[in-house]
């Protein structure tokens, strides 16, 4: 555990000097309060930007963050040195994973605060975000482990991220897309977030998120088994 904690601490220090990752973590949490206060259109649902950007944030930040950190460590051989230092792959992945999850959750807290939810609403919001960030982080980890270089990771991350992040928004305008999107966790997270203020929530989407989570875990396990961390 102490090695995972050391990796967590190192990632924290590194993030402040890594603009690519930092932007991913800060962009949506910074944009949400600005957009919520600056844009007012008649008929626009309450907390429109909070909910829209929250689901986009889930599709982007944890996924790109995990993939970028792991692939960079592989490409620059820092990971090889770490493994030679008797750091176990599970300790490394735990350190990076917990860091990305925590950093993204901090962003989620900021987005949640911009929504001005009560205690129940905030708890639901953060729980949904926590689950979504976990699924995205698993997909990002699979991409990072599969990629030998950062370039390879980016070439896979961008299309996956675009699909996951933009599906909730596109499904608002197109029923066909909505019919497909409902099987993805980012769409179900968007649906759940849209029900926070409702007296009763339809929670069947939780099963889709859990199913997506299981698939992401299996994908990660398969990629890890094939490639390892070398």
């Amino acid at each position: 555990m102490s090695k995972a904690a050391a990796i967590f601490k190192k990632e924290l220090k590194d993030t402040f000097k890594n603009k690519t990752i930092l932007i991913q973590f800060l962009m949506f949490p910074a944009l949400v309060p600005i957009m919520e206060n600056a844009v007012r259109i008649d008929g626009m649902p309450e907390n429109f930007f909070v909910k829209l950007f929250a689901s986009m944030y889930i599709g982007m930040a944890p996924l790109t963050g995990m993939a970028a950190v792991i692939s960079e460590e592989k490409e620059k051989n820092t990971l090889r040195v770490l493994l030679l230092s008797n750091v176990k792959p599970c300790e490394y992945l735990l350190g990076v994973g917990v860091y990305i999850w925590t950093a993204c959750m901090l962003g989620a807290v900021v987005i949640c605060a911009a929504g001005g939810y009560g205690l129940r609403g905030s708890l639901v919001f953060l729980s949904v975000m926590a689950a979504g960030i976990l699924v995205s982080a698993l997909i990002g980890a699979a991409i990072g482990v599969w990629s030998k270089t950062q370039m390879m990771a980016t070439s896979v991350t961008v299309p996956v991220m675009m699909v996951l992040a933009f599906l909730p928004m596109l499904s608002m305008f197109n029923d066909s897309i909505a019919a497909v999107a409902k099987y993805t966790y980012s769409e179900q997270i968007s649906i759940l977030l849209n029900q926070i203020d409702a007296p009763r929530m339809e929670v069947s989407g939780v099963w889709v998120i859990a199913g997506n989570g299981l698939l992401a875990a299996l994908l990660f396990a398969a990629v890890y088994r094939r490639r390892g961390l070398e």
Binding site: K3, K10, K17, R80, L82, L84, S85
Partner: protein, 282 residues
């Protein structure tokens, strides 16, 4: 002498290519052992194998008496590795790079400053690694390898690309480590480095050890011509057989005060390599 690194008939293929072919050698405790060879000879692969990063197809390799395929935490804590690609965190400072590994190894922060002093990087401790010269990065990587004060140090091309002054600084550090009893396994393609630093060397070509022993002994072994090169004050160079038959001629030169310099023509490690492989040293 007790051996801390042992390799016996190690062979390794990656795909269809034979990377290492029946490699055998032993390294004694406190010895500096040099593995010499041109780029692509298999030097880095051998270090990976000896440190448990790769597994051989045939033969056996032991580190501190244990099979390298099953090195545990105890063995890892006794080795320091400096790979040729360094593996440093470029955005972090010199200090933070070492602090991270100090946390991994459970070593006190005081040790970091001591290490930075020993490799001459204390003044640069707050500088980002990306802003360091190649030589400074090499020294930082060496400091990290020394952090656990292990018994064995693996150095992959530690002076590659360094200027002569920095190279000399590295050599001084390595000589100091040898005095402390650290066993050093180093790869290099610099024959002068090997000849001056190493107690014993092995010449590696296309995955095979073609010769090994003490540098001086190897050179003498291939000194077939055994000539003396006499440079006269007139600028003329004369090659004389290093035997009593040349005594008269030498005496003449000495009496005439005609000699500017005398050198033996024993081969260098480079010329031995060329003689054995028919290839130029790259």
């Amino acid at each position: 002498m007790s051996y801390v690194i042992e390799a016996e008939d190690i062979s390794l293929s990656l795909g269809k290519k034979q990377i290492l072919d029946q490699i055998s050698f032993r390294v004694g405790e406190g010895e500096i052992f040099g593995l010499l060879g041109p780029s692509g000879a298999g030097k880095t692969t051998l270090i990976k194998l000896l440190t448990g990063q790769l597994k051989q197809d045939a033969g056996y390799a032991r580190l501190l008496g244990r099979d390298t395929g099953g090195l545990g935490a105890a063995e890892h804590s006794q080795i320091g590795v400096m790979m040729d690609d360094l593996g440093l965190y470029e955005r972090l400072s010199v200090y933070d790079n070492l602090a991270f590994y100090a946390d991994i190894y459970h070593i006190s922060r005081g040790k970091i400053e001591e290490l930075l002093e020993s490799v001459g990087l204390y003044e640069a401790r707050r500088r980002a690694v990306s802003k360091l010269s190649k030589g400074m990065k090499n020294r930082l990587s060496l400091a990290r390898a020394l952090m656990r004060e292990g018994k064995i140090l693996f150095l992959d091309e530690p002076t590659s690309g360094l200027d002569p002054v920095t190279t000399r600084q590295m050599h001084e550090i390595l000589a100091g480590l040898k005095k402390k009893g650290v066993t050093i396994f180093l790869t290099t393609h610099n024959m002068y480095e090997a000849a001056s630093l190493c107690v014993r060397v092995a010449l590696l070509n296309e995955g095979k050890i073609i010769e090994q022993g003490r540098p001086g002994e190897i050179c003498r072994k291939y000194n077939d011509l055994n000539l003396l090169r006499v440079t006269l004050k007139s600028g003329e160079e004369v090659l004389l057989k290093n035997s009593p038959a040349s005594a008269l001629r030498m005496r003449e030169y000495l009496e005439q005060d005609a000699i500017w310099a005398i050198h033996s023509t024993e081969p260098t490690l480079e010329s031995v390599f060329i003689e054995l492989t028919g290839k130029e040293w790259i």
